[in-house]
Subunit: 273 residues, 2 copies
């Protein structure tokens, strides 16, 4: 049993015998590619092949830096704002016949670039451009896997960022998820400028959850700087949360047990009643 | 850029020079491995390596069938019930020094084997057994990727099965998720014996969502028999839903647009307010 993926340049050069590719007949495309949370071990063969076949890589600089250099490819690094502009840039390249990979960390379909690309691609001028979304492991899955199975039963996935939605919507959703006793994976808990959301979220959650509810804090998961902390809602160190963190807040059923290399956390599939 | 994973037997045989492995010193372990929803393209290198290194494969028969045969390995197929018995069987093998892979479709941490293994491993007699959870792409991610990015914003992941939890809990969670305008990924919507849950779930969702809310039905995603249907909550064909299906129900913001090869569905990251 073996997987062998050939180097990017060769893969991209594979065309039917006798076929001469010209810019006139060539059709561009956009693949929105999930790199997973970190590292080669979590990169799917499908994502790897799409990256290798691309003529252009488009994305937030630190994500592009995770893709090994290929001299055949053009790289277009951006900051992580104005997703629609990045989407438009990629789609314009595809209109000119180029094969473009828009790279996202994690899964591009989860709080990432895929919805912006699909939305902009709906404009009539991009009607002929094929867009494929290539899923990747999410940060929530990666953090969960490092401690056991906290997402083993029903859960909600909620972003705390109020950059694109009002805080009232975030708070309502946290309240609903906590009342329904869902485990909650929290994305974008904080940044340098957003420093109050985690404390506010905790206050909402404590309406329905006890202070000893298990909380997993994963920081820079999968990287050399990975830190995984198992704590509780009451003892969570709010000031230590930054933009590289993802939080998993347990349900009433989530349990913490001892394992040979530290605490393990799981949510059983049974629910009493 | 290349990924080369060597054949299973060789990988497992890699030991330190001069090291002679005996059953007396050998420590067993259990890897709970996510195969992803289907196919080699979605199998991570980490999962591939864990499967290749295992002495024993344990799991539901149809999942084991997805792992290429290796004459060095023992296979232990089971039905898909009584997860704790399968977990115990795997942990007992590990206690005897064996390296065991418990295989799950999708992500073992999401409605699958990981929480059962972690729970049983907490029993004192398994105190020394190392358990690793190796994440995989979920069915929800795979279905979403086939139509665009319906999970692009906050969402809930809920199983309709009332085999291990009361239906009232399921209904309360659906109601809360619908009221909070979360996109909802629905696992285990139906089986041969469970035929009423999808209709009941729809009734709950229609309390808060309009009948023209987009619904994506993914069946056997990633397999040769894959079917993806984009419909609405009102027009959903309840009788066509079976145990190979996964449903994604949009929020009030989820949109359906035309693409060159069919309908695309996305949920924007912005929320009005």
């Amino acid at each position: 049993m073996s997987i062998v993926i050939v180097p990017g340049a060769e893969a991209a050069a594979t065309v039917a015998p006798g076929h001469v590719e010209t810019s006139a007949v060539r059709t561009g495309r956009v693949d929105v590619v999930g790199l997973g949370p970190a590292g080669r071990d979590w990169l799917t063969p499908q994502a790897h092949a799409a990256l290798a076949a691309a003529d252009h890589l488009v994305g937030y600089g630190p994500y592009l830096d995770r893709v090994p250099h290929n001299p055949r490819q053009h790289r277009h690094a951006s900051d992580n704002r104005v997703e629609s502009e990045r989407a438009e840039f990629a789609l314009d390249l595809a209109l000119r016949g180029e094969r473009v990979a828009v790279v996202s960390s994690g899964d591009p379909g989860v709080f990432a670039m895929a919805s912006a690309v699909i939305e902009v691609a709906a404009e009539p001028r991009y009607a002929g451009v094929d867009v494929t979304v290539i899923p990747g492991l999410t940060a929530a899955q990666a953090v969960a896997s490092q401690v056991g199975a906290p997402l083993g039963h029903d859960f909600a996935t909620i972003s705390l960022s109020d950059r694109l939605k009002p805080w009232e919507v975030v708070a309502d959703r946290l309240d609903a998820a906590a009342r329904a006793d869902l485990v909650i994976a929290i994305y974008n808990p904080a940044s340098r400028s957003r420093r109050t959301q985690v404390e506010d979220a905790r206050a909402v959650l404590l309406r329905h959850r006890s202070a000893d509810t298990p909380v997993v804090v994963g920081r820079a998961v999968g990287s050399d700087e990975q830190q995984i902390t198992v704590t509780t809602l009451g003892e969570l160190d709010v000031d230590a949360i930054d933009m590289r963190c993802l939080l998993i807040v347990g349900s009433s059923q989530t349990q913490v047990v001892d394992g040979p290399s530290g605490k393990r956390v799981f949510t059983p599939r049974r629910y009493p009643g």
